[in-house]
């Protein structure tokens, strides 16, 4: 029964990953990230993604603060924040977030404040979706590891 639980959880994880790849939310760089994880660094993906969340939320706050200022004109600063966001999103395989950053940057280069506000809303929405799905993935993984540990103990 527990064995089935582990296998079902593994299947659930694979299904969720397949969905995220199909939706274009993730790309192959996420697989590369997973391949960097091993017994010497068993929580590598979780650690990197959590730092990504922390840094991304700081960048989103910075972008919103910039745009909420009625006298805002520092599009260069906005570009720097977006490059940071694009860089880290690319590195973890967050393809859709990266693409939205790219489009946002194109709008900011036209000094279009209204366009930037709209782009920020899209970016916040995409980021939230990504974060929720990755949390879901980590939750399933955590359950799988626990179920495997219980099965291992029972088999001993």
């Amino acid at each position: 029964m527990l064995g089935l639980g582990v296998d079902q959880l593994r299947a659930d994880m694979n299904q969720l990953l397949a969905l995220l790849f199909h939706q274009g939310v993730l790309d192959d760089h996420f697989l590369q990230l997973q391949q960097l994880q091993d017994v010497t660094s068993p929580n590598f993906v979780y650690e990197v993604v959590n730092i990504y969340f922390h840094e991304s939320e700081k960048l989103l706050r910075n972008l919103r603060v910039l745009l909420m200022d009625r006298d805002f004109s520092d599009y260069k600063k906005m570009g720097i924040h977006l490059n940071q966001f694009m860089g880290s999103s690319s590195s973890i395989g967050a393809k859709r977030v990266r693409n939205v950053c790219f489009a946002f940057r194109a709008v900011s280069e036209q000094n279009n404040r209204a366009g930037c506000l709209r782009a920020l809303e899209v970016l916040e929405h995409e980021y939230c979706y990504l974060k929720n799905k990755l949390h879901e993935l980590f939750h399933i993984e955590q359950q799988r590891v626990m179920a495997a540990a219980v099965r291992y103990r029972i088999q001993d």
């Binding site: 391949q35 960097l36 590598f44 650690e47 730092i51 720097i80 940071q84 880290s88 690319s90 973890i92």
Partner: protein, 153 residues
């Protein structure tokens, strides 16, 4: 992934800056590790690049901006490979590359950055880069880079 840590290399960590880092074959030691410096302000990319390099047996240091990279070299550090981000606070990639080359640093310096236009790429290359890659760095790109390093040495 095959480790190249035991390949013969040019360069020694104990060499002071400004000296010719080229050494004859008789002074190469076996089992000498490849060394790399990651110059990057983004924490996520720092972790990933460091891990990519470490998995290949590369001894890696990380600094957060170009000035720290320059200071490290002033203190006598030498690296076989420098991965240089473009946009960084305090001292950016192009400026740091220019300063390092002016200091006589002959390490392979590779620019690694998020998408940038042709003009920015040209400015970065003209600063003294050996090569330029768009982020993210992949294992395949890194292996190819390191193979060039070993072949040229």
């Amino acid at each position: 992934m095959k480790s190249i840590a035991n390949e013969d290399l040019i360069g020694s960590k104990s060499m002071p800056h400004g000296n010719d880092v080229c050494q004859g074959p008789s002074s190469h030691s076996l089992n000498k590790k490849v060394t790399a410096l990651v110059v990057e302000d983004n924490v996520v990319n720092q972790m990933i690049h460091k891990r990519l390099l470490s998995n290949l047996g590369i001894e890696t240091q990380v600094v957060e901006n170009g000035k720290e990279a320059v200071d490290l070299h002033h203190s006598g550090a030498v690296f076989d490979l420098i991965l240089m981000d473009m946009e960084m606070p305090i001292m950016n990639g192009p400026e740091a590359t220019r300063v390092l080359r002016a200091m006589g640093v002959r390490s392979k310096i590779v620019g690694v950055t998020a998408y940038s236009g042709d003009y920015e790429k040209r400015v970065f290359m003209d600063a003294g880069l050996d090569d330029y890659y768009e982020k993210p760095l992949t294992m395949a790109k890194l292996v190819s880079l390191l193979q060039e390093l070993v072949d040229n040495n």
